[in-house]
Point group: D2
């Protein structure tokens, strides 16, 4: 199976390599062409523009950094639209539902096929082919894409109309954002009440609410170490968008709203580029020793 | 090893039976004596009063329903205090730190030894000997009690001074209370935004925040089924006490505070005796069809 | 002084009549022309289209119901833009900063002068010429408009660049929205704690936080009467926009966020078209008698 | 009319002087006797102990700093209880409902009459005889006390059973605490969005939510000046007690809960002894210049 692949950032590179390893023929493109080299060493071809890649491949996958990059690759000169007639485009970037709809409509208007397929999971799952794929749009295309999804992820879902993939991701990230705040409050309460927060981690780990995020983030939060796996400003943006989705549908979400304000507080403290677990810092007592 | 056991409710009965099965000689007492029968069939002796049990056994474990029962068994006529001199008392009931301290001081003043040891886990883990034991108080007694704790729980912790067991339990339950609200908001947002909340459960289950509580409660919450494993009014009481602990120590906990108000809303709706997951009902749109 | 006036809803009609009474020559336009009759009886001329009015008058004031009406009057065929060259346009509608900027840029590009001037105050202050006018944009135009503002309002402010009028209004309405929630919680707490909420109104009225809104809304809220002076859905929209403004500027506003969720809850209960004080209903105990 | 007066702090001194000026014969007592001197210069007699004062006067008013002082004056050796038989005791201190009930019961058991009468208003209203008096308990005693209340306050209320005075005060202070947070958020949003917060004060002052507290605190908050008229730690304590009252009665109060967490945040920043308006500091951006 021959696929195009647009976007070789941390995620995209790992995903394209996985496809190559599993026998896919892959033609890659990246805005900075030098990033294609490692892929070429792994057997990839290179396309000069998104349009070239789409022209060459029946299926093209994109993994771009944000909505503006996702739009640019499609709508700009030498973009996806130019040769999309009769071809399939699978956008796995994380974008909002509006961006996704705009791309979907343009591609369908030009005679192409579209699937949005944002993923849950970051660098490590991408490398291990353990992403969770939240697909929506063209059902037939979803089924044709399954061999690729089987390589990239441990599980894929088809969620119906375009936009639902983005929405599902927001819901998951909103729950995650409230949970990291609940966790941070618990760690802080333990510490300030004279308990050993490390023991709290052990106790939590044995109980019904034990989960991978607490295990991963707990020890680093206790060391005030927030190397960014998922930047706080992106987490806060997802909380904001999830709350906006709730607003549209008249869903009151007081816990998510409180968590969102904590993330905003963290942003105002200049922590937006650190890991989202840096929201922990909002609960600290200011150091009067300095 | 011979132990006394006071209190044969759902938890206490399961725990006493486990001790008998593992070769402990157990003398039981319960306010309603008829509840002792099943234990006698399993090989237990019966003591007529708490005082009798304590007189007979070097170690007495208590598992009572609430602070007032815990106090009553110790301080009332024919209570634990009457023969505690030189004996050890291990209170595994869930009580607040103040109650625990009151009992501790009285027992030590009479020449006894005291350990508080509240547990995390409900009926099933009690039956399976899979409780998490949060002990605090007399360190030497904790070590002597380990053979019993090994039978009752999968893990025990010694947390320092009396009161720390109660506090640790509050912290854990506070995190849990915020999490169930975050989860409920996510389920509601999914449903109201046109996503399948059952699929949300599947997606969550594959990711970093997957946990036993979501797995257990998700399906029942989607069916509006709230058979009480842990009554909402108790969860809300624990949130209140955790927030009070935070107040003492000047810890701001906006997410827990928002979650607590949701539980209070649920209580005002008459849901206090249902499972704590019934907080889900606070987010429902009123049914105008009736 | 001759002015044009576009939009004769509740607010616009009262304002245009005030201008006529104070000796202004007024040419009015309204989408539904029949609404112009009362103004004609008061001495107004009628313009057939927004373009006609602008062509005739050096200054044209607009008071339209929402952003889409405000945009339509400017950009549609026979709209304001067609004859704006050398003329002045004062938009007193309540619109968001983006809408205001879009109108401002288009008018300036065509050689016109623009002032945004949203007002604080509803029907009664409009009739009494007691509005508060929050102007921003062209400073010279603001000064030329003062004779009209003196008739329409008790006070006008010049707030700098276009968008600041809209922002100031959002800030005021956000404080108001949090306050009505604080008030509603207090009334509910009084009632549910066995106090007479009517007495609470009397006590409040004597103290430092006594204010016109409590005086006006208190008695009607106690009667569960929410005839819409300012619809709840508009109040919630202003809370949302104020929170979005805070998000842009990394301002954490936990109280406003909690208030916003209460308004959303009220919307989900179907109360969006009632007065914003209907948020009071979100705190009521459900009636189990039916 | 002869009255005893216990407690000559800031409030008590002003109140006792008012009584003297209006022709009451006053016998004063204070823990630190030197504080009685100014009163003696104004014509007061001095009693050596609370018991002496009560013995001498048919009516004794108390204005003490906190619940423990209020309890001590009644229950300690040479306390009020010793001569209360047939006498009347009016406690105007701000205490919780439990403390008030304890004092009430002891006094009635000894054959005395009791009225609680906490006040709304601080130093200035006390000096000007402009307090608001929230009385509860013995109705007949309330009526006998009216001549004194007319001197001390601008208005008094009889609220029913003992405890209701304390509760009414909590409700008022809770609303006030949420309002100061709403106000602080608005000032911060204005400033951070490029608006002049001083102009916001002017705009607010003209509208329906204009109130004495905004007028008084606004200018000082903008100067980061928080000289304590009502200490933040006391305001937070009242929020906590109001929320506890809501908890008892299953009243969900999400806005007050969010405001309470902000006050706790302020306490954790070491601002507890400043004015309650210092909660404003919780929204500030940390200064990175130092």
């Amino acid at each position: 199976m021959e696929v195009g692949f647009l976007g070789l950032g941390i995620m995209g590179k790992a995903m394209a390599i996985n496809l190559l390893r599993h026998g896919f023929k892959v033609t890659v493109w990246n805005r900075t062409l030098s990033k294609c080299e490692e892929l070429v060493q792994n057997g990839a071809s290179v396309g000069e523009t998104p349009a070239t890649v789409v022209k060459k491949c029946k299926y093209t996958i994109a993994m771009l950094s944000d909505p503006s990059a996702a739009l640019s690759v499609v709508f700009d000169k030498n973009g996806v639209l130019e040769h999309i007639n009769g071809k399939a485009y699978i956008d796995m970037s994380t974008v909002d539902a509006d961006t996704s709809s705009k791309i979907s409509e343009a591609i369908k208007a030009k005679g192409g096929y579209f699937l949005e397929a944002p993923v849950s999971g970051s660098k490590k799952p991408a490398e291990d082919g353990q992403l969770i794929i939240l697909a929506a749009g063209d059902k037939a295309l979803y089924e044709e894409a399954l061999p690729a999804f089987d390589v990239l992820g441990k599980k894929s879902f088809f969620l119906g109309e375009v936009g639902n993939g983005a929405k599902m991701k927001l819901v998951v990230n909103m729950i995650m954002g409230s949970m990291i705040n609940a966790f941070s409050e618990g760690l802080t309460l333990a510490e300030r009440s004279g308990l050993n927060p490390g023991t709290l981690l052990d106790v939590l780990d044995l109980g019904a609410i034990s989960n991978g995020m607490f295990k991963l983030k707990g020890p680093t939060m206790l060391q005030n170490s927030y190397s960014p796996a998922f930047p706080l400003k992106h987490q806060q943006k997802d909380m904001r968008l999830a709350l906006a989705l709730g607003d549209e549908n008249a869903v009151s979400m007081p816990v998510a709203a409180a968590a969102n304000e904590a993330f905003k507080k963290a942003r105002s403290m200049g922590l937006g580029d650190l890991d989202f677990s840096a929201v922990h810092e909002t609960l600290k007592v200011p150091d009067h020793s300095s």
